[in-house]
Amino acid sequence: MIPTSHSLILAAALFAIGMLGVLVRRNALVAFMCVELMLNAANLTFLAFARERGDVTGHLSAFFIIAVAAAEAAVGLAIVIAVFRARGTVNIEEIQSMKH
């Protein structure tokens, strides 16, 4: 079997890459994709511990994370479209004020 620590290190790497993308990229859409990467890192952690303990609760947590990620993607992309309509850009650098 795969040692749990290896899965956890992979999840940590995935989370760090996602965090790097969120903090460094200027395109709001790519930043969103990197948030999905971070959510998947959390999923991987849950599943690794579920395999170690034989506890199916980790699977259900991953299931709920997937559902919440779907909701987040729908609302987030709607906000991106609304911002693009109002400002004509999705560059995070140019979206700095809350004013319409």
């Binding site: 079997m1 795969i2 749990t4 620590s5 290896h6 899965s7 290190i9 992979l10 940590a12 790497a13 995935l14 760090a16 890459i17 996602g18 965090m19 790097l20 993308g21 969120v22 903090l23 460094v24 990229r25 395109n27 859409l29 790519v30 994709m33 999905e36 990467l37 999923n43 991987l44 599943l47 579920a50 395999r51 170690e52 303990r53 034989g54 199916v56 699977h59 259900l60 991953a62 299931f63 709920f64 997937i66 559902a67 919440v68 990620a69 779907a70 909701a71 987040e72 993607a73 729908a74 609302v75 992309l77 709607a78 991106v80 479209i81 609304a82 693009f84 309509r85 999705v90 650098e93």
Partner: protein
């Protein structure tokens, strides 16, 4: 090394490579496609962790539904990305440093985890039902019924919210 471990390391390298491609590709469509690839490799790792149901959901919901939504929005906005991929302003450099710091902190914390040998695999009845859709459903609809209903409400609110936010005029 067993075939399981070989597959895990192949998938792990592929996951890190495709996740890096998501961050460092200039074209958003390229980023989205490598994210799809990343989700498929992750589904492979989930299967190796005996989570077949979640792996199927990962492919159906993530690689299928969510990424199609992303691609729709990318095509709808038809973005042209000019200028440098990453402008290294002080705040961005601090962000990159923070990501590296979080990674090293996680590694240090993971090193302290005790290595628990999974003793539960000795019980064949538990192994037979672990991760099957039947057992997941039993637990979901008994112990986790309230969170399940709460998620259905959350999805409803998200649908209505997305329509309200994205439509120029209701």
């Amino acid at each position: 090394m067993s075939i399981e471990q070989v597959l895990f390391y192949v998938f792990a390298v592929a996951i890190v490579a495709s996740a890096s491609a998501v961050v460092f590709l200039r074209n958003p469509v390229g980023s989205a496609m490598s994210l799809v690839a990343c989700f498929f490799f992750l589904a492979g790792v989930y299967v190796l962790l005996w989570a077949h149901t979640i792996a199927a959901l990962q492919v159906l919901v993530y690689a299928g539904a969510i990424m199609v939504l992303f691609l729709f929005v990318i095509m709808l906005l038809s973005l042209t990305d000019t200028g440098p991929l990453v402008q290294l302003t002080p705040s961005r450099a601090a962000g990159a440093l923070a990501a590296v710091a979080v990674f090293s902190a996680l590694i240090v914390a993971l090193k302290k985890l005790p290595d628990v040998a999974p003793g539960w695999t000795a019980d064949p009845s538990q192994v037979a039902r672990f991760g099957t859709i039947q057992y997941l459903g039993e637990v979901l609809y008994t112990k986790w019924l309230f969170p399940f209903e709460a998620v259905s409400l959350l999805l409803l609110v998200a649908i209505v919210g997305a329509v309200v936010v994205a439509k120029p005029r209701i």
